[in-house]
């Protein structure tokens, strides 16, 4: 698809040397013009959040300007929708040379989730040359501050391309099961995730397994009940406590033969109330 060709005049005035020269001048005072090329607004709001008292980039001489003619840095967000293509170019041309273009957010960097839809052009760098990329969806205000300071050379870039090419011998990936059947762990983890999501579910899983191993004999339903109940009692967080009980009642009982009384009674106790 035919897109914008940067005119020779602008290209000549935007060589790398000139940009580095510019960075020297704007190190302590830089004006930023925001261009929203059809982003979802999230990045804009985070830019707004970044200029608030908590972050205050004015410390470094940051200034949000209303007009591209005053700008040193163009902060572009969004996947460049078809409609924003023309305004983007107008703003780009209206900005004095040399200029720094920063692509912000997943969409700005590469089109993000919209990268192949019919009415986006997927990323600022498909249209105009981009000098710095700040990924994030949307980027955290700290991330924006970091990105801008990095672009200006105040901070060092942390990310480098990482490539693992040597596929060596594998360590054993599967740990031994506490009950001698990995299906137990599998079901346990699935249930834990269902109860408390993947983030906390894994923690719950760990807590449960460690409580289970505390009991000495993991296959003894009575012993495990005691150790799980104890673990639930000392647990600060009522949610974890309750969920450990649920796990025990629902999964453990399937793998170890249990009586009804071996289940933990959950509704009688207010957990984590201490």
């Amino acid at each position: 698809m035919k897109t914008y060709q940067v005119p020779q005049e602008i290209q000549d005035a935007n060589t790398l040397e000139q940009k580095l020269e510019l960075l020297k001048h704007i190190g302590r005072s830089f004006s930023v013009f925001r261009i929203d090329c059809g982003s979802c607004n999230g990045c804009e709001i985070e830019i707004f959040a970044a200029i608030t008292p908590l972050w205050d980039p004015e410390r470094f001489g940051f200034k949000l300007v209303a007009n591209p003619r005053h700008a040193d840095i163009l902060l572009c967000t969004g996947p460049v929708t078809r409609q924003m293509y023309y305004p983007l170019l107008r703003a780009y041309e209206a900005t004095p040379d040399p200029k720094i273009v920063v692509a912000l957010g997943a969409c700005g960097v590469s089109g993000g989730i919209f990268y192949d839809a019919y009415s986006v052009l997927s990323g600022i760098d498909k249209i105009i040359p981009v000098d710095a990329y700040i990924p994030g969806c949307p980027p955290h205000p700290a991330s924006i501050i970091y990105g801008l300071t990095t672009a200006l050379g105040v901070m060092e870039q942390k990310l480098q391309k990482v490539s693992f090419e040597h596929d060596g011998d594998l360590p054993p990936l599967v740990e031994d099961s506490v009950l001698g059947n990995t299906l137990f762990e599998r079901d346990l983890l699935v249930q834990a995730k269902k109860l408390m999501s993947y983030v906390f579910g894994r923690k719950l899983f760990d807590k449960y397994i460690s409580a289970l191993t505390q009991s000495g004999n993991t296959k003894d339903a009575k012993a495990t009940k005691i150790s799980i109940t104890e673990a639930m009692r000392v647990e600060d967080d009522p949610r974890y406590a309750e969920c450990m009980g649920i796990l025990h009642n629902e999964i453990y009982t399937q793998y170890v033969s249990c009586e009804e009384e071996d289940k933990i009674e959950l509704h009688r106790v207010k957990w984590g109330a201490k």
């Binding site: 008292p53 908590l54 972050w55 205050d56 410390r59 997943a106 960097v109 590469s110 089109g111 993000g112 989730i113 990268y115 760098d125 981009v130 000098d131 710095a132 990329y133 700040i134 990924p135 994030g136 969806c137 980027p139 955290h140 700290a142 991330s143 501050i145 970091y146 990105g147 300071t149 990095t150 672009a151 105040v154 901070m155 870039q157 942390k158 990310l159 480098q160 391309k161 990482v162 490539s163 693992f164 090419e165 596929d167 594998l170 360590p171 054993p172 990936l173 599967v174 031994d176 099961s177 001698g180 059947n181 990995t182 299906l183 995730k193 993947y198 983030v199």
Partner: protein, 179 residues
């Protein structure tokens, strides 16, 4: 006016020193997905789950390696990859300082995994690690030795050959190999 002045006085200066002091995000912040190559088995679950297709798992040109590639620039930090990864090879970190200058390729992480060739048709179909992992799982899941043997053979076949083999098994009157 006086009220606002009072408020300013009351709360003082609250600006965080960042970037001159490190900033601490909340626990479980959804930051950059960290890739632990050693744990990756090349199952491509993350690639399928990823809503923005930031993770791609593809064979390289000469079909010798399975390339796992993650483009941080396209990532929307939803954490689906973390959620679906069976081995924990990809986990959301709390890292948020992701900006790069001039060269966009610094946003890319990639891993090359050896390919498993199909025992029957010699075509590549999966990562070696995946096959090994599958076998390990089966071997620790109370599966009988005999079945394990059968599974091992079966695991090293590509889907097409597997289909053929299954058809052959059925026609020969044997039972399904796997539970």
């Amino acid at each position: 006016m006086m009220k606002l002045l009072d408020i300013s006085k009351k709360y003082g200066e609250i600006t965080h020193k960042y970037p001159f002091e490190p900033y601490k995000v909340c626990e479980n912040f959804r930051g950059k997905p960290a890739y632990i190559f050693d744990l990756c088995i090349g199952c491509a679950a993350c690639g399928i789950a990823c809503p923005s297709n930031a993770i791609t798992v593809q064979l390289n040109d000469n079909q010798s390696k399975l390339i796992w590639e993650f483009d941080c620039g396209r990532c929307i930090f939803c954490g689906r990859c973390d959620e679906v990864c069976p081995t924990g090879a990809i986990k959301l970190s709390e890292e948020f300082e992701l900006a790069v200058k001039f060269d966009k390729s610094a946003l890319i992480q990639r891993g090359e995994l050896d390919v498993q060739y199909c025992t029957t048709c010699k075509k590549p179909f999966s990562a070696k690690r995946l096959v090994k992992y599958s076998f390990d799982c089966l071997s620790k899941a109370n599966v009988s030795e005999k079945r394990l043997e059968e599974a091992k053979e079966y695991l090293c076949m590509c889907p097409t050959c597997k289909k053929t083999a299954t058809v052959a098994t059925f026609t020969s009157g044997k039972e399904m190999v796997i539970e």
